[in-house]
Amino acid sequence: DIDGVGPKYHLELVLEDIVDEDSTVNCTAEVLYHLGNKNIAPDVQFTIEGELKNADEADNIFYSRIKSLENELVAENIPDSHGHVSPEMEPIRLLAWVASGYVMWQNSTENTKFQFAQIKHVKQVKRSDEYLEFDYMILLHEMVSQEIIPWQMTVLWHPQHGVQVTQDSRQPKHA
């Protein structure tokens, strides 16, 4: 506990590549929760020991595929009720998962535990510049309250420039 500020956690964790589960990297992090103001995201400092695996090839293939689509990509329910994700949609799901990590971080307190649950809806927004833009409606599962929370997020991505969430907003749950 840091007096006057809030509890601080020291973490040692292992990062595992989703696509290649044998590829792991050690990581240490310090997380500081702001006791006073719960509307501020916790501070996170981290160090990665070693390098994350290079995903350039897969990134470029995905990028080219989407850029060359005649019509904007539209999809829903990823994964579907049976946990199925088509191969073409897998990168869309991974992108949502990564982007949702930012949303979770921004909305975490000591008493929340978020998991990404599902993409309800995704629509590509065509851009004149080199970025890909997707408008997502996702579901987050908050494990302490057990709530399923719909969340809208606008995600920008480029193979060399990474992921950005430019806009996000919590949606009302329907009864």
Binding site: P79, G83, Q115, A117, M143
Partner: protein, 422 residues
Amino acid sequence: TSNMKLILIFSALFGASLCLESFVGHQVLRIKTRNEEEVKKLQLLDSLEHLELDFWINPSTPALPVDVRIPANGVQAVKAFLESHGIEYSTLIEDLQVVLDKEKQDMACSQQRDRSSNSFNYGTYNSLDSIYAELDHLASEFSNIVSKMKIGESYEKRPLYVLKFSTGGRNRPAIWIDAGIHSREWVTQASAVWIAKKIASDYGKDPSITSLLNKMDIFLLTVSNPDGYVFTHTTNRMWRKTRSKNQGSPCVGVDPNRNWDAGFGGPGASSNPCSDSYRGPRANSEVEVKSVVNFIKNHGNIRAFLTLHSYSQLLMYPYGYKCTKPADYAELDALGRAAANSIQSLYGTTFTVGSICTTIYQASGGSIDWSYDYGIKYSFAFELRDTGRYGFLLPVNQIIPTAEETWLGLKTIMEHVRDNSY
């Protein structure tokens, strides 16, 4: 001599068909011999090959009965012989062909059931109707040990079906297992049906389950929350609660695992009907919960209460409503770890073991807290695969592996219960 007479009489009757395909009119007699002399007379009969007597139990000692199949044309003569020598007998089978025909019919019937039951796919998520049909199928295919009982009805009047696995006895000590109390946790209902099939098929083959069922009964509630389950299929895949109407609120449903009479109203449950952890207006307000409570209380001899949830890969014992250790902490923790090891042995899936409060969060009104405080020492809650990658939407190719590993964990606990009566 009388023996010579014997041979003459029976030789006269020699003939008829050597073809053994038809057993029309063949009778099976059970002969009770009182002394060695009578045994010798039957052995003589045996030596008369033209009679084509087929001894199912051979004449050897007066202590044992002699069972013999007699072709149709020899029945009267053999009976006359026995009566004239004062040898006691009874008719076991009046007409063997009738018995064989019935058996053939039974086999064809059950084969057809097997063929049509191949339409139930254990490796996918099935509708409620499909699951209920399969419960019926299991109860009829394994009718010697499986029966289906209705323990109540859901809010929307769907039956709550429990499968009883029993080899007899009256009110034997029993194990309770339930799944699907939270309807979106689909791998639990799916695993439960697989486990039902596993228990039924393995009885008589697997030494562990055989010895277990020879002493104890198992009660399995595969779909604890059928209204919720149907709703996850028709409307909202992420529905968790029951579907009961809440007075004065537009929001529907109560969290059935906050509704038990264990620390009810305490921290870790919501008083807001719109919440996914809404505890309900009072303990046992949900008929789905009340039905189980009534069953357990009326049975009076339940020794273990095991409940399946997903996801997170956890194996937990009480308490959830308070963070103090249960009196049996040491034993439950050790047993939990043993069960987790069994689970891990199959596919390497790791489960974290601990009390609910220290492992996930404080939560009041939970089922295993109620069962434990009621006196059922072996109360455990499982959270099955995975740890969040797919969460509730676990891909179908993981259903059977999940069921298989979960079964090993359940078995470890059940074996301990079997060997530790209390």
